[in-house]
């Protein structure tokens, strides 16, 4: 580690063969294992999404059966939530970059890290097994609402067990990151010297650790009810369906921040690098992540305003929901201010970050509409909500994920993709995305409910536009993936620091050596983003 003349081989070359990957303890390789698995499930989920859009191109069931449609949106939701978006940024880029950005050689518990990937694989197999075993994949929606989930004959137990196992995978990742951040920061790196991505992962990890057990036990209760007939949620055997909704959302609302916070962390990395100046409001961004994670625990009731809630409960859940909007909006203003007086290079990762801000704004602002009690009565469970959460999860987190992929691609593989093609792919994705989801917001305001296999004629034209959008989006996604794969095989070699970044991962080689650094990295003086060549603007 100390002798710089003796450099180690890169983590990619140190060992070869399948087993050197699937049993690796190297956090970078585990990150890539996650990248490939998460990426594969994204494609499966997207294919199911496109299938739904095809069915909805015209009213009247013309492509698949109603029952199949219901199973498709359930599987789509389960895959996208549990197999794609929750593990996406933390498990892929968190695993790969958190130790490097902290200046250390691995996460705190490498074996646990490998185990969480294996749990992910086992959970995924459980979820997919419903396609072949039992009476078909669940048809409940990804929310598994009781009592339908107790009554239906489809294979709900298996899907629910899959989510249970995936929960453990998520808990272990969270635990690992918390300990890593507390114990393994480079000498001299205080919490306030950490890059903002680490802060975001820190806040996320606490949610993963504390909230996930609740969904675990709730889902087991469903299995107990189905298999043993214990009356927990189904009123016909003495249960309470509203109890299920509370338990489900106590996890699933905080889980929204498991999806959003890491994405915000990515954007907080990309913008300073491409503006070549320090982040504006470091502490505001760092602490607002913690504030969001904390307040996020107390707003779950906003999913239940029409489930028969008392006036005072509705009042309190609504006002708390509006309070979460404040730290979120502060972050947006900070990103904007970071562009001010920067020296900006408009590269692909920055475009994804800007696309993130635009989409995430729409997602967040439509969330305010849902948080307002009167408006939510009309919009709840309509396509407005479907539009809203795709703007947050896909337009937000999904775009940040693609941005991170383009940002760190040269670091991970030491090669560069074709930038022109990447720009074109971004433009197609951005246009396709908005054509697909914006009409859904209007459909919702017009009153089209979600989870609809068929719809009334007045909703036809907007549904058509939305389906055309899905075709544009998919062509952009395929172009992006093709370009990245081509970059992996034939890309030009890059330097260690092609973007002139300043956080620690840019001090090591591309691709990094097995133990991350040939010589101990040097911390940047005056904060992690204090670009030495920029004019000092702190008055």
């Amino acid at each position: 580690m100390t002798d710089s003349s003796m450099s180690q081989p890169s983590y990619l070359n140190i060992k070869k063969g399948l087993f050197s990957w699937i049993f690796t303890l190297d956090h970078k390789r585990i990150g890539l294992l996650y990248l490939y698995s998460v990426g594969a499930f994204f494609l499966v989920g997207a294919a199911l999404g496109v299938l739904m859009r095809l069915e909805l191109l015209n009213p009247g069931g013309d492509l698949i059966e109603a029952q199949t449609y219901n199973q498709v949106f359930t599987l789509h939701g389960v895959i996208m939530i549990f197999l794609f978006i929750i593990p996406s940024i933390p498990a892929v880029f968190g695993n790969f970059f958190l130790p490097i950005m902290l200046g250390t050689d691995d996460v705190a518990f490498p074996r646990l890290n490998l185990m969480s990937w294996w749990l992910y694989v086992i959970g995924a197999l459980f979820a997919l097994s419903t396609l072949v075993f039992g009476d078909g994949p669940a048809d409940t929606g990804w929310t598994f609402y009781a009592p339908y989930s107790v009554k239906t004959g489809t294979n709900v137990s298996m899907s629910v067990l899959a989510a249970f196992i995936l929960g453990f995978s998520s808990i272990l990742t969270g635990l690992n990151f918390i300990v890593t951040i507390h114990r393994l920061r480079a000498p001299g790196m205080g919490f306030n010297q950490m890059p903002l991505f680490s802060w975001a992962l820190y806040a996320t990890s606490w949610i993963q650790l504390l909230a996930t057990p609740i969904i675990g036990i709730t889902l087991l209760m469903i299995v107990a009810e189905r298999m043993l007939g214990i009356g927990l949620f189904d009123p016909s055997i003495g249960g309470d369906p509203i109890l299920y909704q509370h338990l489900f959302w106590i996890y699933s609302h905080p889980a929204v921040y498991i999806m959003a916070l890491p994405a915000m962390g990515i954007v907080s990395e990309i913008i300073p690098t491409f503006a070549q100046r320090t982040i504006f409001g470091y502490k505001a961004i760092a602490y607002s992540s913690m504030a969001i994670a904390f307040v996020g625990y107390f707003v779950w009731g906003h999913h239940m305003f029409t489930s028969g809630m008392s006036g005072p409960a509705a009042y309190i859940f609504s006002i708390l929901t509006f309070f979460v909007a404040i730290p979120t909006s502060i972050k947006v203003f900070n990103w904007l201010a970071t562009m001010y007086k920067g020296s900006i290079s408009i590269e692909v990762p920055l475009l994804y970050a800007v696309g993130f801000i635009f989409n995430f704004l729409i997602g967040g602002l439509t969330g305010l509409v849902n948080g307002a009690l009167a408006a939510d009565v009309h919009l709840h469970d309509t396509y407005f909500v479907v539009g809203h959460f795709h703007y947050v999860m896909f337009g937000g987190t999904g775009f940040a994920f693609f941005g991170a992929l383009h940002y760190w691609f040269p670091k991970i593989w030491g090669k560069m993709y074709n930038k022109l093609v990447a720009n074109v792919a971004f433009a197609i994705i951005f246009i396709g995305f908005n054509t697909l989801y914006f009409p859904m917001l209007i459909l919702g305001i017009m009153g089209m409910p979600r989870r609809y296999y068929d719809y009334l004629p007045e909703f036809h034209s907007l549904n058509q536009i939305s389906t055309y959008g899905s075709w544009i989006l998919v062509s952009g996604l395929l172009l992006m993936i093709y370009n990245l794969i081509r970059g992996y095989f034939n890309g030009t070699k890059t330097t260690d620091n092609p973007w002139n970044g300043i956080t620690l991962e840019w001090q090591t080689k591309s691709p990094p050596p097995l133990h991350n650094f040939d010589k101990a990295p040097e911390l940047v003086k005056g904060g992690p983003y204090n670009y030495p060549n920029a004019i000092d603007g702190s008055h």
Binding site: D135, G141, P147, Y148, T306, A372, A375, G447
Partner: protein
């Protein structure tokens, strides 16, 4: 005039927030794009490190706080009146079951589509016989989940003559998107005469009326085609494989089997069909009703 008394409150909160949102979306996007060009590497070769600015940060914390409090307030004031129905409201039972709405008036009149008098508050007592449903009238801006085991209600006043869609907004299984009905707002006189009129079922078999009113026909057809459950055509005397306690059994359908199925569908399943979807009608149908149903079914050849 708005279609219902709640349109104003809901639309005001919705469009207020949407307008503020459009303002911020456009504003932030324009500033962002301006910065991208104004401070591009070409136009601004050397960046400036500005770590923070207390004054600005206070401004952009306080302004959003005030705005969200305003948004919250109008959301609440538009919602609060929905919680309590006026005392003079006319009460109607609204029953949701897979996948049909039924409305029962105080005098016992039972219909598939709601008819209400103009300008008179109406209170719907929401009853679910199986799973969650949600009664949604987009034109009236009202929605309330219908939860089995809970006595929920919703109320509204129809203020404009016309017929409006009723949809189910809470996913309830296979035919969720077909769980449709309508509400017609009519003059008081027309309502009164409608209420005392009785639909002409004189030449309809009682059994058929029972099948219609109990939503059996949303799962079972009369013409031999397959829906969620097996068709009633040629049911009696059919050779069929049922699943009892996990084992397959070949039986011939007879009256007693049908009676058992209607009273306690869980005792066995039918091979090739999803079990668990049909609920027990033991407390809903009398023995005489069931006899009538069977009599009608035996005419379906």
């Amino acid at each position: 005039m708005n279609a219902s008394n709640f349109v104003e409150g809901v639309d005001f909160s919705m469009y207020l927030i949407l307008s503020i949102s459009v303002f911020f979306l456009v504003g932030i996007t324009v500033v962002m794009i301006y910065f991208l060009f104004r401070y591009s590497k070409k136009n601004n070769p050397v960046a400036t490190n500005i770590p923070h600015n207390t004054y600005l940060e206070i401004v952009w914390t306080v302004i959003p706080t005030i705005l969200v409090l305003i948004m919250f307030w109008y959301g609440w004031t538009g919602y609060r009146p929905m919680l309590t129905a006026p005392d003079d409201a006319m009460e109607i039972d609204a029953i949701g079951q897979m996948w049909k709405w039924t409305f029962k008036y105080p005098d016992g009149k039972t219909v598939d589509s709601l008819v209400i008098p103009l300008d008179k508050p109406v209170k719907l007592n929401l009853i679910s016989k199986d799973v969650l449903h949600s009664l949604f009238i987009p034109a009236f801006r009202v929605k309330q989940d219908v939860v089995p085991g809970k006595d929920y209600m919703m109320w509204f006043t129809g203020q404009k003559l016309g017929t409006y869609d009723i949809l189910c907004a809470e996913y309830c299984g296979q035919l969720h998107s077909y769980m449709l009905s309508t509400v017609s707002v009519v003059e008081q006189d027309d309502f009164d005469s409608w209420l005392v009129s009785s639909p002409d079922t004189s030449n309809e078999h009682v059994g058929l009326t029972l099948l219609k009113n109990n939503a059996c026909l949303s799962c079972h057809t009369r013409d031999g085609s397959r829906l969620v459950g097996p068709s009633f055509k040629d049911l009696i005397g059919r050779n069929e494989t049922i699943i009892k306690d996990g084992e397959k059994l070949d039986i011939v359908v007879d009256k007693q089997y049908i009676i058992n199925k209607i009273k306690n569908p869980k005792i066995s399943g039918v091979d090739g069909y999803q079990s668990g979807l049909m609920t027990s009608y033991e407390d809903i149908l009398s023995d005489e009703d069931i006899d009538n149903i069977i009599e009608y079914i035996s005419t379906l050849k």
